[in-house]
Each structure stands twice: as structure tokens, then as C-alpha cells.
Symmetry: C4
């Protein structure tokens, strides 16, 4: 885990861009992380496409998804997804909501994604479906109300991901790097499962294999290796996030950031 | 909306390149915008591949698709698509004709595209088909005669898009940015629908969802966010359009452009 | 048509790279052009991957596919494809043999490609199949013997393209730019036809449409526009061919090349 | 074959990156080569994503997959795949284990890949399946124990590749360049076979064709041409491996490397 809030904010910007570059996020979708010092808060960007997010875009929210400071920019309409899941799942420290092309056919056809190769086990045995229409009737399909967020969190239950009919998916993790790996592996799994279905009805891993292989994706060695790989790819594309802008005060940026963070919490 | 004709011309060149870069347009296809000061005219590039279009390529046409000034370059053969739709639809201020790979399977198989995810609702409940053969028999499939353009406009009716059998699609909007979003979202929708059909027969959004979700894609916040994202992607590829060439007169480029535009209208 | 042999050689190198960059050629495949001053000869690169070909790699061959000068480098094993077609078809001035991913499913499944959209009409009404096994039994599937080349040319007949079972395709044209357009449009057509077949059994254009739309792809305006577009894409990727190396003599490169060409013919 | 160990180490780093760039390897997968001077040893990178591997990452292993020198970095968990195959197959001098998207649908559906085009014959007549579950029950699907490696090597038998259910593939060769070509051609073949299956049930090459065409991919001319092509593509992407870091001793790098290699063998 990063050792300061500044580092975590930088990692969150990087996570957004990695997922944007690897085809999980596009103009839409977002990633958040629980505040390391205060489990009652989470960090999320202002409303912006993930590949453009900078550390300075990251804001702090309560678990009711209210910004801790009065916002100077537009916020994501669907941030209740994050707040409601952090409320329901104390083990979760990172959340990603996305509409990746790899999962959309399953969200549209209403067919389950199941782990079909060893890395796909990162998603767990199953990802339940949540259909907003069932409880809320006709909506614009965005999850914007607290009750919609809570309903989605209930559907997620103790799983690692939930599929949202005609909309997308939400994935959770116990760390940013684990979350990023899981989201990417699950997309690869969905892609392979779709293509395998052209050859015959694919079967999932054996139950014991899912459990054993699922642990691999959470190993620090795996998570470190994939993070290095995806960061390199992002860097090669010229899209690494800039550093946080220099603080106005003469203090070094890091100390300043720490200071700002304390100030915020006092509010 | 851009506040001067020069800005709108620049935005039109950018719209062409964004759609070229996002895989909606390729060597062919074109985007036009209605003249902001004269609803009886529209702006369209000379005949050129969209990713190459510069502000200086943009010409002014009457709704009969005649160039206002004698042209010095080749014109698109199919510009009647634009003129006829502007005649028929006073609410339309931007038109795109394309042969995107995502829609072609549907145009070839004659199967309807229907909104299958929230952003796909940007296309509306349905996109009617128009088969040039039905009214005109054997043609080269290009829409070049006024009566062909009018026939296509009738098929479009009050919809946001029309599919052209064995040819492509034409999409309309009440603004350039809305049009660009709609064209891209509709292609994503078609792609997901095709892939979902490998898993089972996909169902469209509920009717109420289409209406409610359809409004999202027209929200200024959405349109601004996607425009920023697609522009960034275009810029990262090194393909941003150049600015308008400096006028020969010593007047600043913007004033000069305004002047030229006035001159044109006097003709 | 380019006005000197030097220009044609440069255009041939560019054609190779455009087709390499647009996904028609990869490590393999080749493009040739008939000698502009001597219909009994053709120009083809030494054995090299198309995206790497430079003007200095282009060599001159008789229609028996023998190099006019003793070669200093390896030659393509399958150059009889070119020689035999130039012998059989006086109207053909350019030939491309390829294994494009878009056509391979059809060459493998033995299912015909048919024009399913207006630009696909560039391939003509049909592309016959040629199975090397039928006449020659077990081979390594390469077309290396004169009799194999003649057999392929017979199967091509008066068509614009021939599909080679379990191997690839050969496309011909009455000019390099026409050939490049036809090869690319035919690949797009194959790709759309394959994808459309997931939605239902696609139908070809009406016969009259094929003839009328087929003429479009040969229009100088179309051929010029697509050539500009594909060249721009190649340039953006940094892969434009270098110019011919300066001649040792003090004469300007162009004159020198012309001189060399005359010298060659004297042999 | 490279003439010094230093050259072979550089070639191994390059092979890793070529396969990473051509979509055979991603964050995972690895390539090894048998030690040119000692058939009882092989060379393999420390645990790292293939596109990042540098000559300095390459380590020496015994055929029991033990590092010859105490390692300073993490090692691949699955290196027994390499050691066990080198033990079983004296004709094999290069091994690649991968999870390429092209082969995964077959590994998941349990359907055989068969040579369907001339270059696909590089894989030989068939690639047997190996299901880790059959002999070892529930595992994490990684091949980490000696007995798992030996079981996989037995399944490979005298073939050129083995498919691993719900996991990936392992390919072997009698040289690094042959291996790289085979791995890439087999992926192309799998991709074409999958797509052809949408048109009908594809048939393999005739048995005699497989043998004759299979020899093509091993010809030095072919292997040299494809290696040049893939290297050029890697270079164009800016991802060529760096050279070995200068040795601390004043000896030139090459001599120093040779010296180090001798030292190692003395251990």
C-alpha cells in the first residue's frame, strides 16, 4: 500500500489511466479507493474521462457520496455506486464501475460470465446480475439515487463483481492493484468465453480450481508484475498522469499535500 | 455553440477528424453543419478523407447542395444527402453519412440495430431502413440525385438515423457535438448487439428506458466530456487539424474569415 | 500513371507499404507492376516483407519470372504468380498476392466472397476458387512452378481476383492505385460479409448494382482520394519508404535511374 | 545460430519482446533457450513481463529448473515446463509457454486446433491436449511441480505444441527463430480457424500438404524474413531491448560476458 495520501492519490490517477488504456474504461467509468486514514471516506475523481485524470482531479467524498469540500467542478452522477458499496462491504477498499466492450455482450444478452481460464478465476465463482428495472422500473439506467446504489450493493453481496443488465459492470477489490488486475482479467475472461462459445458450450473451471487459481491474482508477485506491465504500456503510449501541481505554499509538495489533507479532515 | 463562423468551421474540421479517428469514418463519409446565420445554407468539406480535412477545406452550400462560390476543388458526390435532410428537418443542424464497420453487418443483413445499452439510446427507439433499389432500381448505390436525397430524407422521417441497405448509415443531430456522440454511441451499440447475438437473441432497452437514457447523451455535461476525451485521443495520435491559413490581408485571421464569409454571402 | 520508371518504382514501394499497413500484406505477400515501356517485363521487389520494401529493392523480371539482371539477393519463391498472369491477361498491369486475415476464413471454409456493399463491388461479381490440390496433389501450397502459375491464371480467367484454398488470394488491376483500392475494398467486404453472416445469410448486391458500383472504385477521383488517405496513415505511422539511394555517378538521381533502366533493357 | 552466449542472450530478450509485441505473450508467458554449450542447462528470464525483458534479466537454470547462481530476483513459478521438456526432448532447443488470445477459445472449449492454411502447418499435424485436472485434480492450474512438468512433457510427446485446457499452450522448436515463427503462425492459424468456423466446418490441410508446407516455416529464408519483419515492427513501437549493461571490469562487454559465463559453469 502507498504510504501517504499523496502517493495513493497518484496511484488512483494511474489506476484510472491504466484501465482506460487497457480498454476497461473509455469516455466513461470510474475508479475509487477508500480513504486510507478514514474508512468513512473515499477518493474519486471529478467528472472526467479516466485517461485524462490527474492527481489534482481527485476529490474526497463521504460514504453518502457527498463531497467533503464544496466542489469547484462537475462530479460523476453515479458516485453512489462507490459510497453504497463501501458502506456495505468493510473488506472493500477499491471500486471500479465500467462498460467495457468485453462484458457488454453478457450484460445485454443476460448470460453469465464464468471463469474459463486460470486468471479469470480472479472474478470468483460467479458475478450476479442486477437489473435496475426490476426494482425501479423505467430509468435512464444510471445509478444516481442512494436507494439504487444500495440495491446494487445488495446484489453484489459478497461477490467480487456484479453485472448490470443493459448497462455494464461494477468490480471491487481489497486494494487498487488487486482491483485493476481483477477488472482486466475478468474482461479477458469474458472475451475468451464469448469466442469459445463459437466452438461449443464452454465449461467453467472446476470449483476447487476457481478457489486455488483465484488466489494467484491476489498474490503480491502477480499484482506487482502486471502493474509494471500495464504501467509500461501506458507510458509507451505517452499517457502517464502528470504529478500533482506544485502547492502555492513554499512547503515541499508532499508535505503540503499532507497538510491539505489534514485541513480537509478538520472540516 | 461556437460563437463565430470561424469557430464553427474549426469545430467541423475537428468533428470530421474525431469521427475518422474513432472508426466511424474512413477514406469516405462526411459531416456537415447548418450555417449558423443562414438556415438555408450548410457547411461541408471539399471531397477529401475526413482525417485530412482542414478548416480551409470547408465550403458553403445552398440546400440544393450547390456550392455558393464556384468551387476550385472536387466536391463530394453525395452532398445531396445533407441538403435534402436540412430541407426536410428544420430541427437538424448537423448530418453525418458513414460506412462504419460496426453498422455494415446490419446494413448488409438487413437486420435492425436497436438500443441495447444505455448510451445506445442516443439513436432513439429505431433507425428505419432505406433501400435505394426499391425506388430507383439498379444504381451505383451512391445518393447523388436530388430525388434520391429526398427519398432518403423521407425514410429518415423524424428519426435520428437511417440505415441504407448495402451501403451505410446517415445520422443527424441538433448540434455537432451531439451528432458526434450519437454516431459513436450508435456504432458501439451495433458492435455490442452483434457480439451479444452470439450468446442469444438480445432484447432492446424498455421503451421508457430508451427515452430517459436517450436524454443523457444530449446533456451538455456528457457531450462536453466525450468531446474532450475524443479530442485528447485525436491529439495523442498527432492528427489535430491545423488552423485556418493566415489570410493574405493584414487583418487578423478571425476578422478576415468573418470578412470572407460576408463577401461570400453577398454573392 | 507515373511518368518515369523511377516514379513507378517509388509508387510500387509505396503500394507495398500501404497494403502492409492496411492489413492486406504482413510478413508475406507481394505486389508487382508491369514494366511501363516493355509489356514483356514486370517489376517486383526482392524477397522482403512488404512494409520494409524500398525503391532499391525493386527488380525487373521477364514474364517467365526470370530476373533480367543476375540477382544479388533472394527472390520471392512465388513470383510465377505474377509472370503467368501478365502472360494471360494483357489488360492487367498490376498484381497482388496476399494472405489477408479478412479473406482467410473464406479460403479455409471454401465459401465464396461476394460483393455485399457498394465498395465491395470493386471485386466484380465473383472471385473463383483455385485449389492447388486438384491439379497438383500434395504440395507445400506455394505457387512456384510455371505450370502452377499457369493453372492459377486460368482459374482467374477474366475476373479481378481468385481465391486460393487453404492459402490466400490473388488480385489484379489495370493500375497500381486501382489494384490497391480493390485489394483493400475486397478485404473490407470479406470482413463485413463474415460479420453479417452472424446476423443472417447475407445477400450480394443486385447484378446491375455490382456493375455500376464497381465502376466507382476505378474512378480517378476515388482512387486519388483513397491513395491520399492510405498514404497519410502510412506516414503517420512513420513507415514511408525512403527514396532511392543516390547513384554513384554525378548525374541527378532521376536521370541516373532513367539511364540505368535503359542500360538494363540493352542487356 | 548466434555465435556467442552474449548474442544468444540478446536474441532471447528480443524473442520475448517480439512475442509480446505480436500478441502471443502479454503480462505473462515466457520463452527459454537451451544453453548452447551445455545441453544440461537452459536460459530464461527472471520473473518479468516479456515486453520488459532485458539481456541482464536472463538467468541460467539446470534441467531441474534450479537457478545455477543464487537468484537476486523472483523467478517464474512455471519454469519446470521448460526444464522437463528439455529433459524429455533432446531435439528441442527453445520453448515458449503462453496464453495467447488466439488459442484460448480452443483451450477453453477443448476443441483441437488443426492446420488450416499453409503457414499453419508449422504446428504439425496436431497439437495434443493436456488437462492438469486429469492427473492432479484441483490445482491453481499453474505447472509448478516437477511431476506436473513431466506429465505435460509426456503429453507433448514428439509434437511441436501442446494445448493446456483452461490455461494456454506450450510450443517448442529447434531454434529460437523457428520457435517464434511457429508460435506466431499457430496463433494466426487458430484465429483463422475460429473465424472460418462461422462459415462452416473448416477442414485441415491434406496430410501430405502439412508435411510439405510445414517444412517452409523452418527454412532459413522464411525464418530470416519473418524475424526481420517482426523486429522492425517492435522497433517501430519503440520497444527494442536495451543492450547488456556494461560490466564493471575494464574488459569489453562481450569478453566480460563470455568470462562471466565461464565462471558460472565452473560453479
Amino acid at each position: 500500500m502507498p504510504d501517504t495520501l499523496t502517493d495513493l492519490v497518484a496511484e488512483l490517477a494511474l489506476a484510472n489511466r491504466i484501465l482506460g488504456h487497457e480498454g476497461v474504461l473509455d469516455a466513461f467509468g470510474h475508479v475509487s479507493v477508500r480513504h486510507p486514514d478514514d474508512p468513512g471516506r473515499y477518493l474519486l475523481s471529478r467528472s472526467r474521462s479516466p485517461l485524462l485524470i490527474e492527481p489534482d482531479d481527485i476529490l474526497e467524498f463521504t460514504l453518502d457520496s457527498e463531497p467533503v469540500k464544496p466542489p469547484k467542478a462537475l462530479l460523476y452522477a453515479e458516485r453512489v455506486i462507490h459510497g453504497c458499496i463501501y458502506q456495505a462491504r468493510s473488506d472493500v477498499t477499491a471500486v471500479c464501475h465500467h462498460h467495457a466492450p468485453a462484458v457488454m455482450p453478457f450484460c445485454i444478452a443476460g448470460k453469465p460470465i464464468m471463469p474459463v481460464f486460470h486468471l479469470g478465476a480472479a472474478m470468483g465463482e460467479e458475478a450476479p446480475f442486477w437489473d435496475q428495472y426490476d426494482e425501479f422500473g423505467d430509468t435512464n439506467l444510471l445509478v444516481v439515487k442512494q436507494e439504487e446504489g444500495h440495491s446494487l450493493a445488495r446484489a453484489l453481496g459478497s461477490h467480487s463483481a456484479v453485472l448490470m443488465n443493459r448497462h455494464g459492470a461494477t468490480v471491487v477489490g481489497s486494494g487498487l492493484k488487486e482491483l485493476v488486475s481483477r477488472a482486466i482479467f475478468m474482461c479477458q475472461n469474458a472475451e475468451y468465453q464469448l469466442r469459445a462459445s463459437a466452438l461449443g458450450a464452454p465449461e467453467p473451471l472446476h470449483r476447487g480450481e476457481i478457489e486455488l487459481a483465484g488466489k494467484i491474482s491476489r498474490l503480491p508477485t502477480v499484482v506487482t508484475r502486471t502493474w509494471e506491465y500495464w504501467s509500461m504500456r501506458l507510458q509507451a503510449s505517452g499517457a502517464m498522469p502528470p504529478r500533482r501541481r506544485a502547492a502555492k505554499s513554499p512547503r515541499p509538495a508532499r508535505a503540503a499535500a499532507r497538510g491539505r489533507s489534514k485541513t480537509r479532515k478538520r472540516r
